[in-house]
Symmetry: C2
Subunit: 296 residues, 2 copies
Amino acid sequence: MDLKTYLKEKKIVVDEALNAYFPDDEGPASDLIKAMKYSLFAGGKRLRPILCMAGAEAVGGDGKDVLAFACALELIHTYSLIHDDLPEMDNDDLRRGKPTNHKVFGEALALLAGDGLLTEAFSMMTDPELTKHIEPDIMVKVIGLISGAAGYRGMVGGQVADIQSEGREVDFSVVEYIHTHKTGALIIASVTSGAMLARGNESQINAILSYGKNIGLAFQISDDILDIESDSETLGKNVGMDEKMGKITYPRAVGLMKAKKIQSELVEDAIESLGIFDHKAKPLRMIARYIIERKK
Amino acid sequence: MDLKTYLKEKKIVVDEALNAYFPDDEGPASDLIKAMKYSLFAGGKRLRPILCMAGAEAVGGDGKDVLAFACALELIHTYSLIHDDLPEMDNDDLRRGKPTNHKVFGEALALLAGDGLLTEAFSMMTDPELTKHIEPDIMVKVIGLISGAAGYRGMVGGQVADIQSEGREVDFSVVEYIHTHKTGALIIASVTSGAMLARGNESQINAILSYGKNIGLAFQISDDILDIESDSETLGKNVGMDEKMGKITYPRAVGLMKAKKIQSELVEDAIESLGIFDHKAKPLRMIARYIIERKK
């Protein structure tokens, strides 16, 4: 099996589950649901859900059994993009080649669509039908893991540090904080939650955690490199934004060559972390390499 | 025991738990934590946490055992106020007698403080130490209940209907939708979650649910009446805002007299719902009366 087929198959599973979960609605909140679905189906790669399922598979579980959490991670990721794009934040008008949520639905509805997606993530993680193969004690632990990674101790904290460092001279330690929190935390939680939900043992979960830390950082660095090297059409969003916003990134802090070197080392470390696993971790190994080869 | 003492004692318990939960922090997210705590400790009545604890007590439980969820409900309520006050929403500059979050910390940080509080609510609901007396299966159910009530099928949905109806002629059914969703849903979830977490039986939970529906609607009507009859100093926020924003409310839709009559009936119905309970439901009975007697 090649990675392209794996990613495609998994994306279909995720898209179908998300589609089935969100009803069409003609009630007073119908515009809200439209706004939520607009960003949810705007062409995301479903990387976090796929990492969650691949994490479950690596420890011998079935990816479909953890779909509730896999999809919930995409809801959280999508909410964060909608809020990040708002005028008071990055003020972006293009995302995945389409107008951003607030450009289509207005700022109030975009704000609430983000709130709705974030909240619904926790409804999805507790959906009785979707979680029937998972024990409640593990569900509670994983909800704690994911909310911790998404909140002020994780992604939201990284976002704050990011906007506060714009246009300012900051320590490299702040750059590292931003990277590990803003993007890294939720990626780590995605793959680790899959392994936990599928009842991986302690050494397996620690190995997956180490894998997640490495690819999480590699992913953010590749995002920053793409912002420099790619073009808007390929990337589906405006490029050169980091420099424009005065954002300090890995390639800007250490140089493009060094950033690429660090990135390659992180991917190799990630793959090495998976040494205890058999062929069932092959998707995770392939995903690690894909992160630095991707074009968008 | 009188209500004033009960509310005061419970508020202290909630405030202490919230205080212990949020650390002082000097790291890159320190401003975020400051912004979160600013609104969290801006003088809220802690009505939702108190309802949660009183719901637990009514079915024979200990309010302190459900503190994780009680406090989480306050986090959710506080996030909703921060986002509601943002310029793209109600654009309010005064809340509980103090400048609103974005007036103090700026719009970006206020947005993220709201996101942080909402997310952290789910961390708090799964905190191992705070939830050690609750079974995981019930925790999962209640997380589902609360997220459903807070999200697009509840509070966020009501908020959307509310902003979309501003300055427009809307059906009374939309007014009812707004009231039952925007405020009612989380109040119902607060008191019901307490009863569920304390292992109330089905008929007890249904009775509490009926109580919650009645006081939830009564509470929103009293909010709307206070916006007409109170003054900014007493209320701690600008009054007359509903009329200014062209918002359709119960008193505006049916008249002030009729609204007060409906409100009294709802409170009597709420108390009647508690018929199966003994003295342990006395706080809930007192809270129902307090809702229409409150001045802020």
